[in-house]
Each structure stands twice: as C-alpha cells, then as structure tokens.
C-alpha cells in the first residue's frame, strides 16, 4: 500500500506501516520520487498545473477551490521572492485530519510543498500549524530536519539549480488564522486580522510578495497525482470531485476518527465505517463539513454522497470534510448555543457586523436555551444572521451566520418549543 500503488489512500497509507512519520519509511515506499523526477527532468510548470486540472483536485481546507486553477493565478515567471504557504491551522470544530497527515505522513506534505515551490517559483515555504497541537508541530520540525539532512530541502536539490527551503510556523490559539490572509498577517508577526481582497495573495501575499496558500491535505495529494497522473486521481473520485478525501468523524458514532474514502462515497457507507450511530440511538442530524457548514437532518443526509456537489445540492457544504454526528439526545438549541459562542469568542473584531452580530446571536440563543426566549427571537436571529452574512471582510461572518440559519430552518420547532414552554423538548 505504498505511494507507488494507486490505492484509494492518498494521504493515510503510511498509517499501516511501522514508524509511519519517518523519512526511511516514506522513501522506502516511493516517497520523494515525484519531486526528483519533476526537478531533474525539469518538467514545465504548465504541464504540472495541467495535470492538477485533470485531477480535479479541489481545496481540502473548506472552500473546494480547484487547485490547478489557483496555482495558475501565480505570476510564476515574475522575478523576485514568491512564497508557498501551507495552512495547517486546523481549528474548524469537527476537523482533525491535517493533524494525522502531519503526525503520520509529514514527508508527503513536504514533498508536495517542494513540488509547489518548483512550479510556482517559490524558494521558501512556510507551514502554519495550529497552536493547540504543539506535539505535532514538534513531529513536523523533526521531519523537516530529516528532509534537509537527506537533501530533499535546501540548495541545489538533486544537483540542479532548484533551491527550496521550508519552515514551520506555530500558531498560538486563534481560529481566524485559518483564514488565509489572517494566516499571512500572523506569519508576519501581527494580530490575525484578515485583509481585504483584492489584492489576492497571488499578487500581494506574504511580505507583500506573490503567495499561494493551500491546505495540508491538498498539498499532500500533489505527490500522489504526480506519481499516478491526474486521470488516476480523478477516477478515484467522480467528475469535478477528484480523488479520495479524509473525513473526520466525531460526535455520536461508535468509532470516531479519520476515514479516507473516494469522493462520492455514500454517507451511509462512511457512517458504517465509523461504527454507525452509537449503540441504541438514532441519527438525528449531521453537520457534514465542519461547524460552519449548514446542519442537515438525518433524512436528507442519508441520501447524500460525500462530495462537494452532492452536499451542496442538499443545501450544505462539504467544507473540510468534518462530519459531526448527532443522535436523538441532542438539544439543537443547546448545540447551536455552543457553536454561536465559538464564533463570538473567535471573531477578530475587525468588522462591525461580525464583532457585534456574533455576540447578539449568542446572547439571544443563550436566553432561549435558558427559558427566557421571546416570541420574536427567531425572526431576530434570522435578521441578525442575514445582516452578517456577506457583509464582512472574511468568511467568518458567513461561517457564524450559516449554522444559525440552518438550525432554525431545519429544527425551528425545537426553538419554538423552548420559547413557548421555557424548557427543552428533547
């Protein structure tokens, strides 16, 4: 089950091996061969981008933007510094897949970033790692050291004139830094407050230089695509949704964890892999793509396949692939109260609709949960959410609004019951 074998495991194949994070394990199984070939054969960047476009690899961090297209935005031929940045600031509630790539397969990410550096004309890369996983940051630093000593990072790689250095940057507790321009501010040693776009990072990124930012899983998929070809990756998944993807399953299942399956896998199969809903209980609702994605009731979710298009059609988002499973014991008012507190706590404070609106939403949901709701509160919540979404610099505003709108849409009766009877119906 190596990188050489085209199995459905793009990123998680090392987990079955001894010492999965080590350079020796990675190299013994075909690791760094794609980088060596790309660099020594001086493969044209355009050809690599074309391969990525064929693969239909879409960003694994949440937005699902086509990776080949994103890379094509970089002014690759422009002289001067350019950067490739990896977003491992994984703090979207429910998401814990990049952590496993960093701790079990760090070299595939390093190789992917080096290939990206080659294509995009970046001599330096940074991997921004979530603050709360310091032990994982340590593992990645050790992997970087191994790669440098073995000549996979540094100057004149494989005897060519290609130079690429990679560093890890450790966050320290700010959800907003998962937003790409906040992340750049953070690397620059500032508060993580998102920038206005345009200009986009491809023209004005880190230190004002052209920069491409991709998610960990996205970049780690690149060596696989260069080994097996874009077509093989595409065929793993389905049209417009190439490849396999890691799904993080948490909540009320018997076996929470990460499961890598082809895009297009029925949700019911994925749920089975995670051991099904915890024994003796029934599925009530699922948040299919991280806490910001709209919640879906069990009936709708059971008809979905796990890919960007199917989940979007059902009215939600595949997002980061974080599947939060809730059974019939969950009070949806209480669940939304906790999520709303999170966005209130993590709003960077820069835009008024988000800074003030997240607080209003939390306080209104809090009073409904605590038996002090008013009949007009549901309209009020929808109104506040509507005034946040689309009115802020970054997507945190939308991320805060979407759970509120979707919980009210699908589970409004629970909120009404809370307001009317001053207590929970669950």
């Amino acid at each position: 089950m190596s990188l050489l074998a085209p199995t459905s495991q793009v990123c998680s194949w090392t987990q079955a091996l001894d010492d999965p994070a080590s350079l020796a394990t990675y190299v013994a199984n075909g690791g760094y061969q794609a980088l060596r070939r790309v660099v020594t054969e001086q493969m044209p960047g355009d050809a690599i981008i074309a391969e990525l476009k064929t693969s239909a690899l879409r960003g694994r961090g949440g937005a699902g933007f086509p990776t080949g297209l994103k890379w094509s935005f970089m002014p690759r031929a422009f002289p001067g510094d350019k950067y490739i940045v990896c977003n491992s600031d994984e703090g979207e509630p429910g998401t814990f897949k990049d952590r496993d790539i960093l701790r079990y397969n760090p070299h595939q990410l390093i190789e992917g970033m080096a290939i990206a550096g080659y294509v995009l004309g970046a001599k330096v890369g940074y991997n921004y790692i979530h603050g709360e996983i310091f032990e994982i940051y340590d593992i990645f630093e050790r992997a970087l050291k191994e790669a440098r000593e073995a000549g996979y990072l540094g100057d004149n790689l494989f005897g060519t004139d290609f130079c690429f250095q990679l560093h890890a940057h450790h966050g320290y507790g700010a959800y907003i830094c998962g937003e790409e321009t906040a992340l750049l501010e953070s690397i620059e040693g500032k508060k993580g407050q998102p920038r206005f776009k345009p200009p986009f990072p491809a023209s004005f990124g880190l230190y004002g230089k052209p920069t491409t930012i991709n998610n960990t899983e996205t970049l780690a998929s690149v060596p696989w695509i260069m080994q097996h070809g874009g077509q093989a990756f595409l065929e793993l998944g389905k049209p417009n949704n190439g490849g396999a993807k890691l799904f993080s399953i948490s909540g009320h299942v018997n076996k929470p964890g990460n499961y890598e399956v082809p895009l297009g896998t029925p949700f019911s199969e994925l749920l089975q892999m995670a051991g099904g809903v915890r024994s003796g209980h029934q599925l009530k609702a699922v948040i299919p793509g991280g806490s910001s994605a709209p919640v879906l009731p069990a009936g709708i979710m059971m008809d979905c396949t796990m890919d960007f298009d199917s989940i979007a059609k059902a009215g939600s988002m595949l997002g980061s692939g974080a599947v939060i499973v809730m059974d019939e014991t969950v009070c949806m008012v209480r669940a939304l109260e906790r999520l709303s507190y999170f966005y209130f706590e993590e709003s960077c404070g820069q835009c008024t609709p988000c800074r003030e609106g997240t607080g209003w939403m939390y306080r209104v949901i809090h009073r409904i949960e605590h038996g002090q709701g008013r009949p007009e509160d549901m309209d009020l919540l929808n109104s506040v959410a509507g005034h946040i979404g689309g009115h802020t610099i970054c997507a945190l505003g939308d991320a805060a609004a979407m759970p509120v709108q979707s919980f009210l849409k699908h589970f409004g009766h629970e909120f009404e019951h809370h307001i009317e009877h001053k207590r929970c119906m669950v």
């Binding site: 703090g91 429910g94 709360e132 999170f342 706590e345």
Partner: protein, 166 residues
C-alpha cells in the same frame, strides 16, 4: 532601555537560542515574524507574560512593544495574567461536548473547587475553557500548560493526571 525593570529581566541562554533559531526561519528584515514563537518561549520559561517580559521580547526582536502586546493579547494561548503552575484547558466545543467534555469540565470544577478562568488558592491549578484544538476524534481532551495534549479523558484518567501534577 526605557523601563528600569527590563535591566533585571533576562531570558535564559537556552530560551534565547530557541528564539534565535526562530528568527532564522524568516527573511533577515522580518524579525517580527518570530514574535509568536518568542512570546511562547518566554512564557514557557517564565510562566506568564508580564508586560515587562513582552517589552523585553519586543526589544530583542527590534519591534515596537505595542505590536508585541497586540500579539500577546490577540492569541488565546498567551497568558497576560498570572496562572497556576499547571494550566488545564478543556475544549467544550460541540464535537467535544457531544463526547463528554462537559462532564470532564464539571468534574474538574468540582474537584478543584474553581471555575473556568480561576486559579486554586495554592497556585497549583488554573482551569480554562478552550476552543477547538483540532483533535475532536479523540475527545474529550485537555491541554496541560499549552503543549501536552491528553485525550480520551474519563474522570478517572483526569484524576490520575491531576495527581501527577504537583
């Protein structure tokens, strides 16, 4: 130096070496990029970031003190108030809550006799409510002093951990 307290304040040679290694990651004219790591290293050595320590770090990185304050107060894991010897941060976000985090938090509150954001009278423990740590599949979980993650917690496992932390 403007602040006389800075004269008596120094970080250990080990900490300064760690900060220097961080500075080396960034372009030479971008020393400020190392401020997050430098504040983390300073906090690890000194327990919490008192204003003089933040100024010291800013001075070391040749950046305005106010810019370092901004960073220290923006990111959740920096402590700009004194904390106990052992800071326990429990994630109570939705995935963790579904998997028993509130029971763990309740157990800790009862056992330590303090709420979130409080420190025991003997200065041994501080309890904090955390946000998503990116490890939801291993919930419930906590962080000890920001860097050591303990997962799959039960009240019994929590007790064992507390007993070890003197």
């Amino acid at each position: 130096m403007a602040n006389p307290d800075l004269n008596s304040l120094r970080l250990s040679a080990e900490s300064l070496a760690l900060i220097d290694a961080e500075v080396a990651k960034y372009p030479s004219e971008q020393k400020q990029s190392a401020v997050m790591a430098a504040l983390r290293i300073a906090q690890t050595e000194c327990g919490w970031l008192k204003p003089e320590l933040i100024e010291y770090v800013a001075d070391y990185l040749e950046m305005p003190a106010i810019a370092a304050y901004e960073v220290a107060t923006f990111y959740n894991m920096y402590d700009t108030q004194p904390v106990g010897r052992h800071k326990i941060t429990v994630c109570t976000n939705l995935p963790c809550a579904l998997m028993g985090a509130n029971e763990i938090a309740g157990h800790l509150r009862q056992k330590l006799g303090i709420g979130f954001g409080e420190t025991t009278e003997d200065g041994r423990f501080t309890l904090k409510e955390g946000e998503c740590m990116g490890a939801c599949g291993d919930a419930p979980m906590c962080l000890h002093n920001n860097h050591a993650m303990h997962t799959h917690l039960t009240p019994e496992k929590m007790d064992e951990l507390l007993d070890k932390l003197k």
